[in-house]
Every structure is written in C-alpha cells, then in structure tokens.
Symmetry: C2
Subunit: 615 residues, 2 copies
Amino acid sequence: MTIPLTILPANRELQVAPGTSILQAAHAAGIDITATCGGRGRCTSCRVKFVRGTVPPPTIMDELQLGSDLVREGYRLSCQCRVTEPIAVQVAPPLDEQAFQILGADRRVQDVGRVVIDAGITKQLVKVALPREEHHQTSDLEELLAAIGRGPWDVSPELLKQLPATLREAQGEVTVTTFGRSVLAAEAGDTGPMKFGLAVDIGTTSVDTALIELESGERLASVSSLNPQAVFGGDLMSRIAFAQFNPANLKKLQGRIIGLLNQHITEIVRESGVLSKWIYKVVVVGNTCMHHILLGIDPSHVGLAPYAPVLRHPLVLPARELHLKVHPEARVCLLPIVAGFVGADAVGVALATRIYESPEIRIAVDIGTNGEVVLGSRERLWACSAPAGPALEGAQIRHGMRAALGAIDRVRIEDDIQVHTIGEAAPLGICGSGIIDALAGMLDAGILDATGLIQVEDRDRLPPRLRPRVVLQGEERRFILIRQGEAGAPADITLTQQDIRQVQLAKGAIASGVAMLQHIAGVPDGQVAELLLAGGFGNYLSIRSALRIGLIPPLPAERIRYVGNAASLGAQLCLVSETERHRAEGIARGIEHVSLATHPDFQEIFVECMNFPRG
Amino acid sequence: MTIPLTILPANRELQVAPGTSILQAAHAAGIDITATCGGRGRCTSCRVKFVRGTVPPPTIMDELQLGSDLVREGYRLSCQCRVTEPIAVQVAPPLDEQAFQILGADRRVQDVGRVVIDAGITKQLVKVALPREEHHQTSDLEELLAAIGRGPWDVSPELLKQLPATLREAQGEVTVTTFGRSVLAAEAGDTGPMKFGLAVDIGTTSVDTALIELESGERLASVSSLNPQAVFGGDLMSRIAFAQFNPANLKKLQGRIIGLLNQHITEIVRESGVLSKWIYKVVVVGNTCMHHILLGIDPSHVGLAPYAPVLRHPLVLPARELHLKVHPEARVCLLPIVAGFVGADAVGVALATRIYESPEIRIAVDIGTNGEVVLGSRERLWACSAPAGPALEGAQIRHGMRAALGAIDRVRIEDDIQVHTIGEAAPLGICGSGIIDALAGMLDAGILDATGLIQVEDRDRLPPRLRPRVVLQGEERRFILIRQGEAGAPADITLTQQDIRQVQLAKGAIASGVAMLQHIAGVPDGQVAELLLAGGFGNYLSIRSALRIGLIPPLPAERIRYVGNAASLGAQLCLVSETERHRAEGIARGIEHVSLATHPDFQEIFVECMNFPRG
C-alpha cells in the first residue's frame, strides 16, 4: 500500500510507503529539498507548509525550531514529518545559490587531522525542583545551580530575566548551556542537539564567516564579502588615519564591521535554517588593526612606530557586548595577536598549517591585503608582515573582483586566450587566481617583460590572435582578456599597465617577506621542506603560475601546496576545539616577530622582488 | 604686608597674608564658600572664577577636577589657590539647600563602631613603560599589567578603548583603579585621592542615595525622593501585577528606577562637586521585588506562593550594564536576599544594628511600606516581613508627605496643638513621625478611641481649643491639625478617619510581625534586651508616641532605640568595607525566614494589633 504525497511548487504526486518522511520521499524522487543539517532536525531549511490533508501534531523539533507561530500556521520540518495519509505540502523557497560561497572550496577542520572536537559548549538536560516551601526559602537560581552541580558558576543577569518563566513553562525540565564556568542559557525542554558556532576571518579587504555544527565539526554554510570599511580606505594605514581624524570615525569603522557580521549572520541563518539563538560560540581572527577596530579600540598607535598593539591577549566576551545577533550570551573568542602587523590571522594560519609541530622547516604564506609570512618548525617560528595591498584579492584592479560567481579564476594563454569562470557563468571580472594565471601566461607569451612592461611595441611577434589584444589606448598600455560578447561577457575585461604595477607591488611584498625571513633565519631554498600557500582564492590557485610570476621562491612544485583560507580554518579549529584555542595562545607567544622595514638589507631585496623572474 | 582679595558676588574686599588660600581667607572672614570635601581638592564645590588679577597656573587638582576647559576659562579650586597678588574672584553659585536632605539626621558608618575601612577600591600610581622596540613586540596592556603586577587581572574592553591615548598623554604616569581582580580604570596623572561611592536604598515608597568618600568613610551628601514606580502601584503586589500585565511594563518599572538613580547621581554630583567619574563603587539594598526590577528580572513569582525569589546570591556588576551614570566600570554590588519578602534591605538592617553579634536577644524593626522584623542574637536570627503599606512614609495619607522641608515632624496635643516642621518652614503636610505623634496625642486627649474612631460625638468633652478641630465633613470624620494661615500654612492640614485606618493597618502589620516572631521564637517581652526602631523618619521619631499607638511592644522606653535608616546604613557599611559586605553574605545565609500568613495564630494576632492600646 502506498499513500499519495503531493509536493508543491513542483506539483509532483509521489506514491510513498506509510511512515516515510516527507524529506526522504522527496529526495528519493529527485525533488530537491534543502536539508542543511542532513535531515536531523537541527535546522529549519527543510520546512514545508501543509496545504492539504491533516497537519500532524508538531514534534518537539518542530516546536523548538519553528516556534509556535509557524507551527500554528501549518509549517513542519519535512525530515521529522512522516506520511500517514494523503497530503500536499509546499516546500520553502529554494536557496538563493548566488548569495552563497561555493562550499567545499576550502579545507574543513576534518581535513586537518588529529582535531579533538571539544568546542567547550556543553548542554545538559536537567530537572530543576521548583521552589515549593514558603518557610525554607530558596530561589529559582539556587535550584537551577543545584541541578547542574559542579559550581561555582558565573550567571549573567540576562539569563535571570527569562529564568522564572522558562522554568515554569517547562515544569523544571530545562537544557542548560555552559561554557567554562559560565552559564549561558537555560532553555525549556531538550535542546541538546542544537549547538552551533561561527568562525569569522576579518581581513582588510574580505570578510569570511562560516557556520559550524559544534558537535560534529561539520561546516554547514559560509559567506564571504568585501569589508565595507574599504570605503574609508583600502589599506590599513589610510583606515588608521581616518580613525585618527576624529573620534566618531572609529565608531563608524566599528559600526561597519559589526553591521557586516550581522548581515552575514542573517544570511547564514536564512540559508542554513539554523536559528541564531542556537549559535553559542564565535571565534574571530583578523589582523591587529581589524581586531582593535572590532573592539572599538583606537588603532592609532598600531600605525606609528614601534607599531605596538593595545593588547595581544586572547579575549572572550559576550556577544551582546559587540551587539552580534547570535545568542546574546554566546562567547566571542578573539585569538591572540603577535605584533602590530602580525595579527590573530597569522596565529590562525600557523595553527591550521601545523607548522608549529613540523620537524622540518616550512613556510606558510598568507596572501592578503595585509599578508603574513610564518617560517620555521617545531624548534622555532619567525613571522613578518607582507603588506601586499588588495590587488591579489581583485581590488584596486580595473576589472578585478572577488572569487565569486562570474569571476575569471583561470587563464591559459597559448595561441589565444582561454578562460574559466567561477560557476561557469558569463565573465564579469577577474579574481586573484585569474590575475596570477594571466600574468604568468603574459610572461610566457612575451606580452610582459621581466620589468613588467606590456610589450605594445613588440606585439607583432605575437601569435595572430593575441596580437590585437595588446593595445595602447591613449597613453595606457592594456591587455584585453575578454572582449565584450566573448563567452557572453557584458563588457571588455582588460588588464592595464597600472594593474600590472599593482600586482608587482603585491607579489614584491610577499616574495620579499619570504626572502627576508629565509635570510634572517638562514634557510636557503634547499632547506625548505614545504611552502604552504594560503589565502582566499576560492578552490583554485595555480602553483605553476605563482612560481612563474615569482610570488613564491623557486622551489620544486611538489614542495608547494595551496592550503586555502588557512586563517579562517584556524578560526574554525578553535571554534570546534578548545584544545586548539588554547594551543593558539602558546603559538602566539612562541612566534618571533621580525620587523622588515628597519632591516638594512630590506630595500634591496624588495626592489629585486618587484621584477618578474626571467622565463 | 597683606594683599587685597575681592570676593564676588558678596563684593567684600579682604586683606590677606600672602600664601593664604582663597578658601581659608573667605572662611576666616565669615564668607561661605561650600567645600564639601573639607578643602582637600577632592571635589569641585569651592571653585571660583578669576575676574581680576593674574590667573595662577593650574595645580594638578585643578586640572583633574575642573578639566582643561574650565581651567582655560579662569576657574580654580579656591582651596588649592594661594593669594600672591591682588585678585578678585567670583564664587560658584551657592548650594540649593532645599533640594538636599538634612545631613546629620542619620547615623554614619563611624557611629557603628569597629568598622574596618576597606572599600576594596584600590588606586595606585604607576609608571608604565611605553612600547619602544619594533622587533620584540609588546602591547600597551601588557606594559600596564606589568607595572601594576600581582596578576592575573580582568580588564574590560572599555578600558582598552582609552588606554593608548591615556598612556601617551600622561607619558606613562597613570593611576590604576582596581576592585578585586578587575582593573576598572587607568587615568592620566595622580588621581589617588579621588575615590567615592554611593549607598542606595530602594524602598517601595522612598529611595535614598548617599555619597561617601571611600578613603575616610565620610558621608558627603545624601538625597532622598519618592520611588517614581509608585504611579504604577503603591504597594508591591500592584506593581507585580502591573509587571505581569505585559512584558513592556517591567521595562517601564526598571526605567523609572534607573532614571531616578541617575537623577540622584546628577543632583549629588552637582551639589557635592564630586565628579561622577570618581564614583567607582555602588552598594544597593532594597526589598526582593525592587532588587529584581532594578535588574530587569520578572518579579511575577515573588508575588505568588511560595513567593520564591529568582535569585538570592549577592551580585556584582559593572555600572554600564545598569546604565548608571557613574564611572562605567564602577562596580554595583547588590546585597543578598533572604526570601521573597525579606530582602537585601533586611540584611542591611541586620548588619547595621549588629544584631547578629548580640549576646542578648534584640529585635530590629524596619518601618517602611514593606517593613521587616529581625529578631534574635548571635545564636540565631529569625526574620519576617511586615507589609505596612506606605502610610508611615506619609503616602496614601490625605495631607501626608515625606520627611522634607515643611513637613510636620512633631506634634504635641495638650490644650491645643503645637507642631514642629522640618527646617522650621511653613507647614506643607505631615510626615511619618508627625503622624505617629499626632495619633498618640489624639489617643491621650480622647479624640481617638482604642478602635481608632475619631470621637466627633464626644468632642464637647475636649479642651475648648481642640473642640472645633474635630469635625464631621459630610460623612467624613476629620481632625484638623493646622488651619490655613496658622503658622503660615498655605492650606488646611487634616487627618481623616481614612488616614487613621491606614495607620492602623500599618502599625498592625508591624506590631503583629514583632509579636509573631516573639511567639515563634518563644521570647516574651521581658527577654528582649533592646528593640531597635529603623526607618527613614529623618532625625526625629518619638519612642513615647510609637509605644502609645502600639507600633511596638510595651517595653520600657530605655530598652527602645531609634536607629535611623538602618537599611541605608547597612549599604553604607558595605560600601566602605568589603569585610562588612562579606559579613552580609553570612548574615543572609544565617537568617531563618518565617512566613506569617500561613501560621494558624496569625489572623488573631493581626486583628488584635490593629487596635490601639488602652491609655
């Protein structure tokens, strides 16, 4: 016997065995219902609305996740709802894929190995005795603490505001959420499985937020966007100058980043179906200046010699103090800082690359507007900053863009140009990995010389199809990657001589950072066991191209590995594991900061690194 | 040789010896310049403005107290400023005496005896090494913490916001304020002597705030006013009902009390000249309901059997969380609670009366809208609530008022009536001590019988001048205390039959509370070594009258003592002494709560206590 199940808006009638969940039935029939949590009742993404048939009584998960209003309106979680009679349900609007970063592009905490999942957020269901006796008085809080035991506990006044109502609504059956010695929440009923966290990487140019289930370490969603502070200055120094200009400006910068994080939260909550009130832990990495601005701390002195941070300690504070729209008592953990220009992001990179326990010497290069280089092994670690500017993140490049839908992320130049775009959409611009590929191809084809000049005068020596792409427009040398109409491009996409200069500055900063650390630590190329290339390039970065343009030292390709956004991965590790978070403190203390600018050999090496290697 | 010193607006020219301070010279000449701190540069009340002569360079105290703007405008502290050449100065406007409670009315912490002054607020001047080295990075915070030593410290992100500017402005010379393991402030220069605190008593009807210098324990100012929550209900039950009615109402009640406390702070700051930023500690007592509402905690269940509080623990939280306009990191300490109707105020009374260490049995009676009785000795302590209603605080009495300027606070009835008013001003109404006096006199004169009925029918037996004061106006029996015009009164002041009934309910509640505790503890009157009468009656309460109306049991007058506002005094003790604050915790744990309403003998005793003793 089967029962008819109609699914709207597809308007497909399925015949399903009684007791099958709506989600299972839909998936078996090839109908997409998003289930971010994998159909375990942990999120709301698979919700459906009943349009025909008896709405079944809500499960505890329906109540917890959807709330009484939606339940009353006939919404249910399709993963929890079994078909027992003919029904028709409407599926929630599908996800807006474009708003989302391509998942799977980056490494996950599971890829790092030897990670103990211990996020530090503990939930326990307890039975609290309600005060009953008038003579021998007690209080709601005393009874709650007696039920959870193992005190003393630190309880926020915020929790107390809800406590009497929660206890009585649930007849004393509440789930208590703790972190360290702090009681964060007391929720009616069993909310045990709902434990989520956010890993946030605040870069000068890009901000990444990932949602992680704390119990499994699974990444459920991530979102990435430009740092909106950029309108007040593309690089740190101009943002610091803006903050110094008047005290209200610091508030503006802080407001921008907190506003963006709340947008990320709204988006992640909407897309994943996980409710923001189940997010109890947030780990933030970022460079020193971003870290200070997030906290509303004047970063002026980070911008003046000796570039001292206001603090380097790790911090833990309640989300309400930063006005983040997760659980108000969620703990926001900021990783420690090494120096004014070697921030918590570098600590995240060192942690995620496991360089601190490497028996051989490795180099981790984090490519970003304020890049950082970490060199060393389990014996000793050095770090310096490599202020590349935003070119390799696609900013301050005429047709540059972030690694998002429609960005050219791969370029091959032979007889003509071949490009690949993210999502295989019509090309809208070029992102960092595409720029590196393009320059490598231009060098190989002789379109660029080693000094970085676009060879307009010699273009006649190029293959016929490349020749017309090398142009002089007024005074400006240009290379036309894509003409309007090619591959559906709505407009020309070019690289200008100015763009090339920006990339040269960027790669010069990074390459000279690597060279200087090798110089100071006395490590020739031959002693480098591995170079780990990190940065937010999405799921593609050509090692060959990076070598060709001299972004990294000329090591054999098999000793170079692209490790994705390692700063964010470091944050994710600390999110799912307190062991890792405490390890990060030790790593930060152990890193020796190297100040490049004051070193007598720096200028010469930097100028040299600006040029491209001769083919 | 003397130098001419002109003081405006008095326009007196004094001849003073060179080097005399302006304040000294003025006081010697009988010119009043207020100096709340006693001329020690701790406050701003003695500030003068130079109108003629050279303005001397500011002292460090001028800079600290007045700030650079006022200093630039020619303001100086007259206690710090010595006369060296002919000058003329304008004195700050004198204090508005009326706004102020009469100081000296209440006992001070110095009167309690054996109080160790250790407010827990520590200030130390340190020299912080500013970060200088680029290679070996450190941070402002690390250098600050190294300078104060003895870590680990807990530092608020708020402090960090100011830290880099403060450190550099003061070239590293900063005063660090700590409380326990928390660093509250880092201020440029030596601010060591500036350490103040507030003791707050939040009653159902009245709210009292006292400003205390933490180093000396000296009370500098106090202010008292009606609890503005009263518009939402005069007694606790109606306020609880209001809070339950809808969740926004709790916010309203909380907003009212926080608003009032901020008014008190503004007033105290203005009158005393102490800057609010030097206030680092606040101790709050109040009944359980007031305590919960201040914190924004739903008090619903305090109003329902078994009347359980949400919490009873003592709390310490930063002032910014309650939006109090003192130093944002000031610590607000809430004393612990005993039971739903025996609050932190009762703990304050027990502490201030030293009943917990008495070798003999004593009784402390706190008279207020929600009065409390504590009975016992160092062996054992019992407490119960005595919900008197607001009559004895002058509220819900037709011509009742608080113990403020113009209130009739003493009444003598012989051949005629004699009244005394606070400040000897024209009578505006009658306060608690006046009401108790009036009723005692009316009973003695035969104007009231033992059941509380005004004897209109028998008025002809009264002395001729009293006779016309006993009237029947429509249905209403009245006793005219003061006629319009008498002693300058702008209107009649009467006590109505209804007023008498209110006082009977009040004194019945208190007397039955005392009687019940004696009954339960098995303590006959003969075993009571002393009865301590507490409450906000100003500086006068007639023990004889209190005995006459049966407010307290018939003990010999020498065994009864009026101890003023002991709840506030308890708060003051905990403000100036952490030893006392920790003692309060032990006291709260040790008090045994007695629930009267459920006791089988209560009704009978209560009804009996409503009547007046027969003369």
